[in-house]
């Protein structure tokens, strides 16, 4: 086991996922299996190898700083689970 229940709870919290207590063991077991698989990477010495984030090492393009999108506020607000006066409504964050 390369990961325990506490680790899983901590990471789930960071990822904003609620986990039912009775599912915790299954998660831990499955995640440990995946991490064991991933451990194979350590068989290879990668000192001095450059990281590769993207195929072809694509560099991001720049574009003129101009407005290109039209305002579609009403269209997007329609999709919101809760909204008021054209704003997304969420529970109070600050008291």
């Amino acid at each position: 086991m390369s990961i325990n229940n506490e680790d899983v709870e901590k990471i789930a919290h960071l990822a904003r996922l609620a986990i039912e207590p009775e599912q915790l063991d299954t998660y831990t077991r499955n995640l440990s299996d995946i991490l064991d698989l991933v451990e194979q990477m350590n068989q290879v010495d990668t000192d001095g190898i450059e990281t590769m984030a993207h195929p072809r090492d694509t560099r991001l393009r720049l574009r003129p700083d101009a407005v290109t999108e039209e305002n579609q506020r009403d269209k997007f607000i329609e999709l919101a689970p809760a909204s008021e006066n054209g704003l997304f409504l969420v529970p109070k964050v600050l008291d």
């Binding site: 960071l14 499955n30 698989l37 991933v38 990281t51 997304f88």
Partner: protein, 482 residues
Amino acid sequence: MHNKSLRELALGLKNSDFSSVELTQYFLDRIETNKDINAFITVDSDSSLRQAAQADEMLSSNNGQPLTGIPLAQKDIFCTEGMRTSCGSKMLDNFISPYDATVIRKFRQAGSITLGKTNMDEFAMGSSNETSFYGRVLNPWDKERVPGGSSGGSAAAVAARLAPAATGTDTGGSIRQPASFCGITGLKPSYGRVSRYGMIAFASSLDQGGPMTRSAEDAAIILQTMSGFDPRDSTSIDIEVPDFSAGLENELKGLKIGLPVEFFNEDLDPAIASITTDALREYEKLGAKLVDISLPNSHLSVPCYYVLAPAEASSNLSRFDGARYGYRTAEYDDLLDMYKKTRAEGFGEEVKRRIIIGAYALSAGYYDAYYLKAQKIRRLISDDFTRAFEKCDVIAGPTAPGTAFRFGENSDDPVAMYLNDIYTISVNLAGLPGMSIPAGINNKLPVGLQLIGQYFDEEKLLNVAHRYQQVTDWHTQSPEGF
């Protein structure tokens, strides 16, 4: 009608042998009759028939393009304006897309008809289509078996002739593996060839959309419409799009096909190995030369992928928080509670597993050991291909280690499921184009041959696939009853 190629359908429309409305209705009827396959998540016949009527007008004024009036199935990962775009998830079950993905926009401009949105593994995470919120898709070759995934709905739809062609997306094998399991032709283009704008992101540095068709000739036509630079996709590559159909007939004399020794070892199912060998013999008859090559780090592709893809996914899927669109839990105490319950209820098990793995690999203390290590391995895997292509023009091997498996066979063991993509993943890591074409049948189930090309050389891949399909008939075989 349902066995006609895209070119034959276009000709039939042009000669008024049938109208687009008739053609579209014909396929809508087939979808309805074969509902048990569960290949589609959403079908809107009224909208399809309206589009078809418009296409008929375009055709009658001779303004048609190769796909005008032809109905196509779109994977439910592509945002489609005014239509539910669920990505196979409860999280987006109520999401009516306010815009079109670039791919969808291009098909609309070409005058093709959206026949429906195809079923898929939730957020494209899976190799069996069993993780979809909308239920499993049946493999038309054997309804007790999976169609493969994640583009399982598209593969099953094309195999069962419920659509003339479809789109899929491929992050680690999600076009090629289901193509192999369902006996169709699937092409994952080079990274950067097809716009990712409006294609719901799983792992942004690996995802590519591509055609799922019955032949390489059809794939060339679909890819032609999908391809091209898109300023709305920051990793789209501004490179000329060739005429993919132009080189299909080129001779293969002198073509060098590389065989990775690592793909043909004792782990490969002997039946798959023998079918692959037979296919390679056909290529020799066509004048190609077989050369041994080595991809020494290919055994690390699955471990490397299962760090990078979940890491990118955990970041991409953070947008699903119940605040702006999609699912929101019914009851919650505060914002944190809303996030946690929304995500726990809205995502399925496999998606949650990958989010947690990704968040772990990116967390403080583990970032170097997992994420950076995997990015270095990715470089080694990519360099292996660069060296291999000094010796050959294309690489060939199996698409998947086996044929379609039974439902539930791998669902309790994520690692066993992941190994399905052992031959396909390295291609995504390197960003190369890859294809799967039907090459044989084992125990009444189709087997695919994988072809891997050099960067932006989809033309060569299609040529190599097409020549094989001219001398064999595996690609014309359909499952019994379809």
